[in-house]
């Protein structure tokens, strides 16, 4: 049996791991190694982006400016968003895809392993470039992650660095997406038909198409910023015949699919976890696949709901309001199917399930505020206030991040071969869940009471909820240190994990031993294994 000690790279066994630390991690073409690289990178970025958020909450703890110059504050909000979106959430999903997709479809590796290595190693360079802007003359980018001109064109030397960093991130994402599509389309084991694929694979397949469609649009938009600033074009300059609002249309044509790029894989993860801990397969599998595809389609025709206040014609406002409301239908279908999966199930509450359940409740709260924001006349009041900040943090933190946490706690024993410290994991969960609500729920009230977003200071009537929110923020931030500690602990020991890990886990990855061997499914799984592995839909 190939049950070798995992973790320490000391062993030179029949796995054919490359020799030596640098050789192994720099040149690896193994999907598991690259997945680990992505996940470690994402975790580092999560803490860097989080430290920016801590500075923001520190400055907003009480009115008056105590710590940050307003320009630096704006840099913090901008960098927090860019780092969290492109550095933490997206790479985490790519890391999970790398680890899990080949194991889940019965493939030995990703289809394009060298490109896989390349798409990861672009990222450290992209983020070195981006983070270096903090130290250039004129300061880091401070025009918001949305980079609206003309404001963004007032950025100093940071502008071209930020634009090139975004180009690199986009290139990395596109390469990663191509790899996912080629792998899923070509490397499924015989018998793994499309409608037998686990939901995580399905949602990633759809996400990959969204990436390929959306990222070039962003690249185009920022390239136009570059030429406007350095080469005398006037794409977004009214004085030269351009239109600053056109940037917003192009940006959000990327931006809205981008939102779903960050949530569809989370849907996939939750669709894996809830059935496992309900003791029965996902309810309404086909409907879940179609709902995901519908959401992906709708994501391309709703972009201007981010722009209800720019002065669009009435007909456009009506169209974007109604199309946005439509999203509630497939999203509702998904939530109902998850809930019904538990109905007549046998529900247990291990850490992955806790994160998935928290996702279910709090993502729904983000969905409710999203539905309110879709109502254009009401959005005139919500737009650019803390209500919006609360909304998208419920969707991205308690949605995307919570799903990623759940995924790590779900598959970690499969990766390391050890069970982790369950009670510590529950502490991490409960502290995160309590503090994240203390952090973001009051921001709904702040927004409705009239506090605009992206301000370093505020009128005194907003003090109380801001203090509450900051306390929640510090608590949430500190709680996250449990996470890398727990993973470190699990990588270095603990009770042996069985191949199933969880009593009722369903899927091909659980047919492999724990830890999963360095090369898995070198021979395609047999029909019987697949039947057993997907004994569901």
């Amino acid at each position: 049996m190939a049950t070798t000690e995992h973790g320490a790279a000391a062993h030179d066994d029949h796995d054919h791991k490359p020799h030596g630390f640098w050789n192994r991690w720099l040149t690896t073409t193994n999907h598991k190694d690259i997945g680990t690289l992505y996940l470690v990178f994402s975790c580092i970025m999560f803490f860097i982006g989080g430290s920016f958020a801590m500075l923001i909450r520190l400055e907003l703890f009480k009115p008056g400016l105590q710590f940050l110059d307003p320009a630096l504050f704006n840099t913090m909000t901008t960098m927090h968003a860019l780092v969290m979106i492109f550095g933490a959430i997206m790479p985490a999903f790519v890391g999970l895809a790398n680890w899990m997709i080949p194991m889940q479809i019965g493939a030995p590796d990703m289809a394009l392993p060298r490109m896989n290595n390349f798409s990861f190693w672009i990222l450290p360079f992209a983020f070195t470039l981006l983070l270096s802007t903090l130290f250039v003359p004129g300061g880091g980018p401070a025009g918001g992650w949305t980079m609206y001109p003309p404001l963004v064109l007032q950025t100093g030397s940071a502008l071209p660095l930020m634009i090139f960093a975004i180009h690199l991130m986009g290139a990395s994402s596109i390469l990663g997406a191509i790899n996912v599509i080629v792998t899923i389309m070509n490397m499924r084991a015989p018998g793994m038909t499309l409608l037998r694929m686990p939901l995580f694979v399905w949602t990633w397949l759809i996400t990959a198409y969204l990436l390929i469609a959306a990222m070039p649009v962003l690249a185009g938009a920022v390239t136009m910023l570059l030429t406007d600033h350095f080469f005398g074009t006037s794409f977004f300059n009214a004085a030269g015949g351009g239109d600053p609002v056109m940037f917003q249309h192009i940006f959000w044509f990327f931006g809205h699919p981008e939102v779903y790029i960050m949530i569809l894989p989370a849907f996939g993860i939750v669709s894996e976890i809830i059935p496992t801990f309900s003791g029965k397969p996902l309810f309404g599998y086909d409907a879940m696949v179609y709902a995901t595809a519908s959401i992906a389609f709708l994501s391309f025709i709703v972009w201007a709901h981010h722009m209800f206040t720019v002065g669009m014609p009435l007909s456009s406002e009506l169209f974007f309001m109604l199309s946005t409301m439509l999203i509630a239908i497939p999203t509702g279908v998904k939530v109902f199917n998850w809930a019904t999966t538990m109905w007549r199930g046998s529900v247990s509450f291990e850490p992955p399930m806790l994160w998935a359940l928290a996702f279910l409740f709090m993502f729904s709260i983000g969905g409710f505020s999203g539905l309110m924001l879709a109502i254009a006349p009401a959005d005139f009041q919500y737009q650019d206030t803390y209500f919006v900040v609360a909304h998208f943090h419920y969707v991205l933190v308690t949605g995307a991040i919570f799903a990623i946490m759940g995924a790590v706690y779900y598959w970690l024993p499969k990766w390391t071969g050890h069970m982790y410290n369950m009670s510590l994991a529950k502490w991490h969960f409960w502290l995160s869940t309590i503090f994240v609500n203390v952090l973001f729920f009051p921001q709904h009230f702040l927004g409705l009471a009239g506090m605009p977003r992206r301000v370093p200071d505020y009128a005194v009537q907003f003090t109380d909820w801001n203090m509450v929110s900051s306390i929640g923020g510090f608590g949430f931030g500190l709680s996250q240190f449990l996470f890398p500690y727990l993973i470190w602990q699990c990588a270095h020991g603990g009770a042996k994990a069985t191949s199933k890990v969880w009593d009722t886990s369903i899927g091909l990855e659980w047919e492999l031993p724990s830890p999963a061997p360095y090369h898995s499914w070198v021979e395609a799984p047999s029909m019987a294994t697949i039947e057993h592995g997907v004994a569901s839909h």
Binding site: V310, F336, V347, F368, D457, W465
Partner: protein
């Protein structure tokens, strides 16, 4: 026991009532504010009702959906010995129901939303037009066809207190960050059109009490309108709502709402002042055209 129980529930009721009241009747300056203001015009109240309609729909749906989820979690928990029903995996009937019911709910939301939206885009038959121009980081106002202009910047005491490490307690500054040197003066009971633009970068002119937020975009003019209730004279405050650079948080909007008569008098005075050379050198030269009106708003603050 029999005495204690009702006492507890009264306290709970009182807390609930306080919560509901603060939802129903928010005051702009109160701390712990939970909800938006119904505002001072028919349109702002329409938008407020729409917001509340959406809010209560969401609360209702949340009760049903979360209730179902909590019931499933509790009732079918493994620790209680629940055994999973491996055959309850799909049902076309249920799928159709939970697709169609949301469609009906959405229609019931979309109809009033569309009606209000159409009204917001109806700036016809206005009696007064004001051009609003966003600058980094102040607002300019021009009463069209009168020559009267106002340049509105953050008031001096707020500006002093908001400097990094100023040591001044913001609580000691009246209307910290929400007061300006020269507010925009508008009449109540008159349909006013605002034409919104910007000089440098994109700003957004937002007055919550009017439920108006419109982006101010360089090179383009956006339109909005309001018709404040005749009895809602007073002072109302808003802020720039689109990130516009370093001092985005420091360019408030203050609206001085006067009765129609008072407003006409005020405007007349401004126009008269324009005709003669400025004789009062008390104000700095940056706002020459509004020099004489600088003192006027202060005397009218009590109107609110």
């Amino acid at each position: 026991m029999t005495i204690k129980t009702p006492r507890v529930s009264t306290t709970a009721l009182a807390a609930l009532a306080a919560g509901v009241m603060s939802l129903a009747a928010p005051s702009a300056q109160a701390a712990w504010t939970l909800n938006m203001t119904p505002g001072i015009s028919a349109m702002s109240r329409e938008i407020y009702s729409l917001h509340m309609l959406m809010f209560w729909w969401c609360v209702g749906i949340a009760i049903v959906v979360f209730g179902f989820m909590i019931f499933s979690m509790v009732h079918f928990r493994k620790s209680k010995g629940a055994v999973a029903d491996q055959h309850f995996l799909h049902s076309n009937r249920i799928e159709i129901i939970w697709t169609l019911v949301p469609v009906l709910i959405l229609i019931s939301m979309a109809v009033p939303a569309a009606r209000v939206l159409v009204q917001t885009e109806d700036p016809v038959a206005t009696e007064l037009s004001i051009r609003v121009t966003g600058y980094q980081w102040k607002w300019g106002y021009e009463y069209l066809d009168t020559g009267v202009t106002i340049l509105s910047t953050l008031s001096r005491d707020s500006n002093r207190a908001r400097q990094l490490g100023s040591g001044i307690d913001p609580n000691s500054v009246p209307n910290y960050l929400l007061s300006v040197d020269h507010p925009l003066v508008v009449p109540a009971g008159v349909k006013v059109r605002v034409l919104i633009t910007a000089q440098d970068v994109i700003h957004s002119w937002w007055v919550p009490a009017l439920a108006i937020k419109k982006d101010a975009i360089p090179g383009f003019i956006n339109e909005a309108w309001f018709d404040i209730d005749a009895d809602k004279t007073g002072t109302y405050r808003g802020q720039c709502a689109e990130l516009c650079g370093r001092d985005h948080g420091f360019m408030p909007i203050v609206l001085e709402v006067k009765s129609k008569q008072d407003f006409d008098l005020w405007l007349k005075k401004q126009q008269d002042a324009l005709k003669q050379p400025a004789v009062t050198p008390s104000e700095t030269t940056t706002t020459t055209t509004t020099t004489s009106q600088a003192t006027t708003p202060a005397t009218h603050v009590s109107a609110g």
